[in-house]
Symmetry: C2
Subunit: 222 residues, 2 copies
């Protein structure tokens, strides 16, 4: 994890708040009230300081969010015993990252703010890339394979979390429901056929099935 800008060598006014305190307090706000409520002003009052004091410890709000994800990953992403078989190792490593991130509803703001590059997540990336190489891919293709897995994983989380958010703050029919209600079976027969089951079908958690399909496809000889 990159450290604060510069180590303290010369002396000046002693710091009243630390970067760690900033991150810890931000985490408490996010956990108890949601990301929306995390503002620099709110954080400053919570910490008993002024908005500007924060800018001595984090560059800006985006960096604060990245630090928050890093902190979350360090605390919750523990290394499991991975299977020896490389294909299974890839699947379990990816599924572990996915599970940790999916349990974290404020994640979307950060996924769209930076790549997942917390030090504690790198070990999982290593396992995936290494597993792909062990299965016969070149290092280059292995990196591309990892990226495909990451796109799939990040996409699943972004789509599902935002869908869940929409459901909670509103009872009106969603845009999607309206669209499906107006479906023309002559033009779009398959969609009309499954229209009634679309909502339950897409609510099912099929992350693992898709992940296995993707890994199988990445490893298939071509």
């Amino acid at each position: 994890m990159p450290q604060p800008p510069a180590p303290r060598k010369t002396l000046g006014r002693p710091p009243r708040i630390s970067r760690e305190e900033v991150v810890t307090t931000a985490r408490r706000i996010v956990d108890t009230e949601g990301v929306d409520r995390l503002t620099m002003r709110r954080l400053a009052t919570e910490i008993g300081s002024t908005p500007m004091a924060l800018y001595h410890h984090v560059r800006n709000k985006e960096e604060l969010l990245v630090l928050l994800l890093d902190d979350y990953a360090t605390r919750t992403l523990h290394r499991p015993d991975l299977p020896a078989q490389p294909r299974e190792r890839i699947v379990v490593a990816a599924a572990t990252i996915h599970e940790a991130l999916a349990a974290c509803p404020w994640i979307v703001e950060v996924l769209t703010a930076d790549d997942l590059m917390a030090t504690s997540a790198l070990w999982f990336v290593e396992q995936i890339v290494d597993g792909l190489v062990e299965c016969g891919l070149s290092p280059e293709r292995a990196v591309h394979g990892y990226r495909a897995i990451w796109y799939y994983t990040a996409g699943e989380i972004v789509v599902r979390v935002t869908a869940a958010r929409r459901r909670t703050d509103d009872d009106r029919p969603t845009y999607r429901e309206q669209v499906f209600a107006d479906l023309d079976p002559g033009e779009l027969p398959r969609l009309a056929q499954v229209a009634d089951h679309w909502a339950p079908l897409t609510a099912e958690d099929t992350y693992l099935d898709g992940l296995r399909a993707l890994v199988d496809g990445l490893l298939a000889p071509r």
Copy 2:
């Protein structure tokens, strides 16, 4: 596309601005100045009105963004001649959606605001679901397969667009670069091995390769 709340039956003060004008003007702002600059206030002045007048034509800003995506899809998503072979049809349909959305840098705000359910995109969804069924999947598994493809596609766009944004507004080393510089080759040998090529490797457009792998995996007998 869902229509405005209610048809005008009784008479009152004749409308000065229309929902269409609101969307068209919003599009112009987004195209010329970026999503960040699209605010209800800016839009109102651009249209020669007041912020509150807009709320008679769109429910709120989120609905405006969804309408904007719908408008974009209707204008740019034209149906190509698809291959007869179902597996190829799936790939081309998905790639066409991907291409249209990837060309649209403000898309992330909307992808995270709603599922892609513009009427003009439904035809592509139909092609993908139908192709999967023709290849032997049950309708249920075909819907799950489409979802996997959508997760992969949306994830690729979200990750890549946000990475590109970060690059433009900043010259300092990214968080990722710092992390890779501190890599311990003893602990993470594969990542250390590819560290120097990570940036160019991940900058490559490998959407199609990953898509083909995913489709192959979804269609493989299990």
